[in-house]
Amino acid sequence: MRGMDYIIKRTIFALITVFVTISLNFVLFRAVPGSAVSGLKCLHCTKQFKEAITKQYGLDKSKWEQYVVYLQRLAHGDLGTSIADNRPVWDDIKQPLLNTLPMIAVGTIVSILLGVLSGVIAAWRRGTKLVDTGNMWTALTFYAAPTQWIGLLVIFYVAIPLGLPAAGISSNTLGLFGSASEWAILQDRFNHLLLPALTLGIGLYGEYSLIVRSSMLETLGEDYVLTARAKGLPNWAIVWKHGLRNAMLPLITLIALSLGYIVAGAIVVEDVFSYPGIGLATIDALNKRDYPVLEGIFLVLTLAVIAANFVADILYFVFDPRVTT
């Protein structure tokens, strides 16, 4: 079966990419001459103290030995120890990751809904000034606007007038008078998640809209669409059942592939809304110069994107078995 060939090829590529990423991660964080310890400046940092830490982190060994130790520890799921709070890095970034995931999920769903809806309508009403051209310029503008700026505008023009929460992940007053019910906590969480997700969705929808439109235009020109029309099917059936189903093909993989941009958007959006996710954790680690944590976050994010790329490759094959190379 030729399909297996393709899947094996993609798997090998993904595995090599993971290895390259891990190695790059190792090199990047040790590229600066001198070790993290030699640059340390503090009151109790005597020579003996520095030597002790150097030994503790294994920095006295050769780079190759360090690399081997690094790989061994990663294989055991050990991402190292945070310098700032002396906890394992994974414990530090687990909760932020869990906070970010629902936000990214809602944001992506918002952007897909907006993008598909506006793209399909624009393709159906192609050539019209108001709908098609209007949608193109709106989409292009949102695509061109920096996500963090959209976030600020959302706070300014949406959050404040509507009284929606624009910072943090939960209200301080929630558990003040007796314990809150599960439902109230969930609702509070959702309220806090809404605006960051909305910002992420708006920032991403532009490119989806443009891609859906051009993909739809191509599909609507196909013979089977003409046949469907000749059969006297209603417009909505032609567009949604015959058109969009086939136009979705490139979109499915493109969404998976755009995870890198979703991650980038999430980082700045979380900064704007002080949403305690992986983005805020990144900024926190940056400010504290906590390199082990930064290293761990970078590794986790990169692996997530590689995984998404791999899934996209496989999905592409599932939806379009003609791809075999």
């Binding site: 590229a31 920096p146 490139p250 930064l294």
Partner: protein, 318 residues
């Protein structure tokens, strides 16, 4: 205005029936209104950036008014959280943002163009090797990598430019490689080789000129990407601390509590500038690309222009 532009374009075309390369870019710029507007905006912003010190009405390092003063006849766009004139900051920011945009795009174009040229021209093992590296670079998410690199290598303007260039060369490399591969097989190149032209001469005089318009289009698009990247880096506090850029102004408005003061004049202008310049360079870049390759206009073949990654390792996606 458009009729005047069109006649000018026709005159251009009539004047230069030969010289396909220079005439081509010119005919696109003058022939398509969207492209003409885009080029005008880019040139205007560049001029503002060059003459920034002469244009700033106030110093951007000194407090010239009260904190968050609303727009007035003295301060057209009010003042920010440090009492600094926002309009002056906007002009000074143009300088840094445009510099990062142009220089970052130039670095990316240089690396990408070179890798694409060598990979496409020589083919064989060097092609496989270089494209593998490109594939790995494409998969790594750019913004986290940028953050890490900026954090490790320091926060100077030069570093930021190099980082942006080193991260964004991949799409250029793939594009140029595909183009070079097709040009290499053309008859006139083979004829030149038969006449005794060496590889270097072939590349310089016969292949490179043919891919130049594409390279220009790609560079213009890259300017947008680089400016965008700069706003990310500055917003996360990793920009050059001694300079003011549009990205830094957006960060300042968040940190300085512009929302709390309802100071829309400190929030809206910098983001608007970034949006305008990115729209402008996208229009220019895509217009040239569409004219070069009409297939790009239709279908999802044009995904690359929306900054999405090509399907890695799939030859058909080139």
């Amino acid at each position: 205005m458009s009729t005047a532009v069109e006649t000018a374009a026709q005159a251009e075309l009539a004047d230069q029936p030969i010289s396909p390369r220079h005439g081509f870019i010119r005919s696109v710029v003058f022939g398509q209104p969207a492209c003409f507007v885009g080029v005008s905006v880019v040139i205007a912003f560049t001029l503002i950036a060059i003459f920034a010190p002469l244009l700033e009405p106030y110093s951007v390092t000194q407090q010239v008014g009260k904190v968050y003063q609303p727009p007035s006849s003295q301060h057209w766009l009010g003042t920010d959280d440090g009492g600094i004139d926002v309009f002056s900051e906007l002009i000074a920011g143009a300088r840094v943002s445009m510099l990062v945009g142009f220089a970052g795009a130039a670095v990316a174009m240089l690396i990408g163009g070179l890798v694409g040229l060598i990979s496409g021209f020589y083919g064989g093992k060097s092609d496989i090797f270089l494209m593998r590296i490109t594939d790995y670079f494409l998969v790594i998410p750019d913004v986290p990598l940028m953050i890490v690199a900026a954090a490790i290598f320091g926060r100077s303007l030069t570093n930021i430019i190099i980082i942006i260039g080193v991260i964004y060369w991949t799409s250029t490399a793939r594009l140029i490689r595909a183009q070079v591969k097709s040009v290499r097989e053309r008859v006139y190149v083979k004829r030149a080789r038969a006449l005794g032209a060496g590889n270097r001469r072939l590349m310089r005089s016969h292949v490179l000129p043919q891919v130049t318009p594409l390279l220009i289009a790609n560079t213009v698009l890259m300017i947008a990407t680089a400016i965008f990247a700069e706003t990310y880096i500055s917003f996360l506090g990793l920009g050059d601390p001694s300079t003011i850029s549009w990205g830094r102004m957006i960060q300042n408005s968040l940190q300085g509590g512009a929302i709390f003061y309802k100071a829309w004049w400190a929030i809206i202008p910098p983001g608007l500038m970034v949006t305008i310049i990115i729209l402008a360079s996208t229009m220019v870049g895509t217009s040239i690309e569409d004219a070069l390759n009409p297939r790009l206009k239709v279908g999802h073949l044009s995904v690359r222009r929306f900054r999405l990654r090509p399907l890695v390792g799939r030859p058909g996606a080139d």
